[in-house]
């Protein structure tokens, strides 16, 4: 491993450009991806990014220009057309959404491939680099690309902030929004367009195949950490940006580590970590909470059992065999540990080899618990 890479980030022009570009794309797709995920359009992102390919090719064929803005415009138009085709198929036939999505994805992409092979035969060599949109070639990013990405992204994010309240309403309860007089269809079109922008901005870096991950993953990770839309959007942007920079650096360190896949693996690792360890929602967190609850319940049960036994003997001096307690617990295990915990809390004490009894404090607690449960 070559840790000079961090230093190069500030000195190496190419690396800096790539890292900046990847970070920009991560922030934009992370932020706007939240809406796609919350509105159950995660796979629409996949279809849109694949569908962008013919748009890029057509834009080049028609204009002969490789200006990023023109190519991205073509991509956005194609992405939009694909969305419209998908929606009309769903609305006008009995074909379901998943089929319509897969159809649009494959057919548009196939058409894009036809156009690409077409372009490759053109005499001028200017077509080179167009196929970097397939898998993304971050190394081909130049300053001009990054500026275009950042400009488009800034516009998209500004619009998102401007219509924050409206988009929130649209995502949560569009009918209620419509009843209040908001033009929901228009807002829907606007928000979908912003998601399209987020997608096309990332195509050159990550490629059409993996772009959907940049829409879905940061949002999915962020959702685990917070229950607030604002925080979720901010976190998703941060995760996306982090993955972008990290991906650019890691891929610069080793041969054969293409930037797109590395970014995707990095953000996916964040998703995995979030799903496991995020407070409240995380799997491990919940498992620990369940364990803690189970121990607490067991503790209360053993305390109650000891109390019941002490009631029969009217004296706290009398020790009760742990075997009896185990039988009362129906042999579910963990009685010994509960007794030890009770002992450290000073609620029970050992009066023989395996005989236990309540302390006065423990008796008091047991009575309180009984009142709490039945009173």
């Amino acid at each position: 491993m070559d840790w000079h890479i961090l230093q190069e980030l500030f000195t190496d022009y190419t690396l800096r450009t790539v890292a900046l570009g990847a970070a920009t794309l991560g922030i934009i797709s992370g932020t706007l991806g939240c809406y796609a995920v919350l509105r159950r359009q995660a796979l629409l992102g996949d279809a849109m990014s694949h569908a962008a390919l013919p748009g890029i090719a057509l834009a080049f064929l028609l204009t002969g220009s490789k200006t990023p803005l023109i190519l991205l415009l073509g991509a956005a138009l194609a992405g939009w057309t694909a969305t419209l085709v998908m929606m009309s198929i769903v609305r006008m036939t009995r074909i379901k959404e998943d089929t319509a999505l897969g159809f649009v994805l494959a057919v548009f992409f196939g058409f894009g491939m036809v156009l690409l092979t077409f372009i490759q035969k053109l005499p001028n060599a200017a077509q080179a680099g167009l196929d970097s949109f397939l898998f993304g070639q971050a190394a081909t990013l130049v300053e001009r690309d990054v500026i275009t990405m950042a400009g488009l992204g800034a516009v998209a994010l500004a619009l998102m902030l401007l219509f924050w309240k409206e988009f929130k309403l649209l995502s949560f309860d569009p009918e209620f929004g419509a009843s209040q007089g908001f033009p929901i269809r228009l807002l829907d079109i606007l928000l979908t367009s912003l998601v399209v922008i987020a997608i096309v901005v990332g195509l050159q870096t990550v490629g059409v195949v993996l772009m959907s991950a940049m829409i879905v993953a940061p949002a999915a990770a962020a959702r685990q950490w917070t229950n607030r839309l604002g925080l979720m959007v901010a976190l998703a942007g941060a995760f996306g940006g982090l993955a972008g920079i990290a991906g650019a650096l890691i891929s610069a360190m080793g041969r054969g580590l293409s930037t797109g896949p590395v970014i995707v693996l990095f953000i996916s690792a964040i998703v995995l970590f979030s799903m496991l360890f995020a407070p409240n929602r995380g799997i491990v967190w919940n498992w620990l909470r369940r364990q803690r609850n189970r121990r607490r319940l067991k503790l209360e049960a053993v305390l109650g059992d000891l109390y019941a036994l002490s009631q029969q003997h009217e004296s706290l001096k009398h020790g009760h065999s742990i075997e009896v307690l185990r039988v009362m617990d129906a042999r579910r295990g963990g009685v010994q540990r509960s007794l030890e915990t009770l002992e450290t809390r000073g609620w029970a004490q050992r009066v023989g080899v395996d005989a236990w009894t309540l302390t006065p404090e423990g008796k008091h607690r047991a009575e309180q618990a009984a009142v709490g449960r039945y009173g």
Binding site: L43, R94, K96, D98, V107, G110, F111, A213, V216, L257
Partner: protein
């Protein structure tokens, strides 16, 4: 040996048919996007299988790839079960990871081998005839054709053997389970078949055409028939037509064969979408138009019947009432009245409308319906 041209078309047709068979069930079971995921992730299985065997022709690659397909499905279901993300997001999370791993493995460790990432997406159908399947020195057929036929036969076998179970598990999961048909087994069986098909088709036509061939022909067939058996047959037919048609387009304009075939599946679907006899857009629009007038006349007749003999009948039966209260455009209202009169439903007295006897019967029937 057949001419390479013919062989390419044969390979493409066989693969199209093989893809359409499980595709029908994917479309009906609302799992179409799973084909997208699987067709990408099988690459990982191929790569790992290749590292183990160092032989691209090894059948182990096949098994490895099919297992990755099943792994994809299991991972998606595992994530779904946590309920931490929505169902659609789960697919979008899983397949990019597996695909990314595969891409990195290839570019890092298999640099010079015949595993080219671009080819993964679009295949190399044009070269397929030159990779021959040779037994004891006899040249039997192109390898891709042999593989395609084997997969087609496997798929046919799967669908014929488990036709009843597949049908039931597709249309009524609950009933299938209660009859002891183990929907989960059918589900994973189908996913295994999809994976094997994806792997087999993959080398020749690439992952995207696999998706196109699995989804578009069944989708088109779904608009043409209501019967499962017909839908399967139609899907195969449309798939083969797309394959052959796609080949010739590619031939004429000298472009990517797989891309042209995918485009052709889209065109076939588009034609069906527009012109399907009952569910096509044109048929729908026609019916819609006819029903619009029928419906408007029914509305007018029931409206008149509704208010017949009530104190407000006079006000409610004026022509101008139609435009003011029913919010009909004047021209539309006039047209409806004209049609209703010529049909003998109503007659006009001054600017008042009244039901004929026939119109009264017509209106009460419309209400009862």
């Amino acid at each position: 040996m057949l001419a390479p041209q013919l062989e390419i078309q044969l390979i493409a047709s066989v693969i199209a048919a093989a893809c359409a068979l499980p595709g029908v069930f994917l479309v009906l079971r609302r799992m179409a996007m799973m084909s997208d995921a699987i067709s990408h992730t099988v690459l990982l299985g191929i790569v790992i299988g290749f590292f183990l065997t160092r032989d691209l022709g090894s059948p182990l690659l096949f098994i490895g790839a099919a297992l990755t397909g099943v792994l994809t499905v299991s991972l998606v279901e595992l994530i779904n079960r946590t309920r931490l993300v929505k169902e659609d997001a789960a697919i979008g999370l899983v397949f990019p990871v597996l695909f990314s791993i595969a891409v990195i493995l290839i570019s890092r460790y298999a640099g010079n081998v015949h595993l080219d990432v671009d080819a993964v997406l679009v295949g190399e159908l044009a070269f397929a005839p030159f990779d021959r399947f040779v037994v004891f020195g006899y040249d039997i057929a192109p390898r891709a054709l042999v593989i395609g036929v084997i997969i087609l036969l496997l798929n046919l076998m799967f669908i014929t053997l488990f036709y009843k179970e597949l049908k039931l598990a597709t249309f009524d999961v609950g009933l299938a389970a209660s009859l002891g048909f183990a929907p989960a087994a059918i589900h994973y069986g189908l996913m295994f078949v999809v994976s094997v098909t994806a792997v087999g088709a993959f080398d020749a036509v690439g992952s995207i055409l696999v998706v196109a061939l699995m989804i578009a022909p069944p989708a088109a067939a779904y608009l043409l028939t209501n019967r499962l058996s017909h839908m399967i047959a139609l899907s195969v037919g449309i798939g083969v037509i797309s394959a052959v048609g796609g080949y010739w387009i590619a031939h004429w304009i000298d472009a990517s064969i797989a891309g042209s075939m995918a485009t052709m599946t889209g065109i076939c679907f588009g034609v069906v979408f527009l012109f399907a006899p009952e569910r096509g857009l044109v048929a729908l629009a026609r019916r819609h138009n006819r029903q619009r007038w029928d419906f408007a006349q029914q509305m007018l007749a029931t409206h008149l019947l509704h208010h017949e003999g009530t104190p407000v009948a006079d006000a409610e039966s004026r022509i101008e009432h139609l435009t003011r209260h029913m919010r009909w455009a004047p021209a539309f209202a006039a047209q409806v009245v004209r049609r209703a009169i010529s049909r003998g439903l109503i007659y006009q007295q001054g600017d008042m409308l009244a039901l004929t006897e026939y119109g009264r019967r017509f209106a009460s029937e419309a209400i009862l319906r």
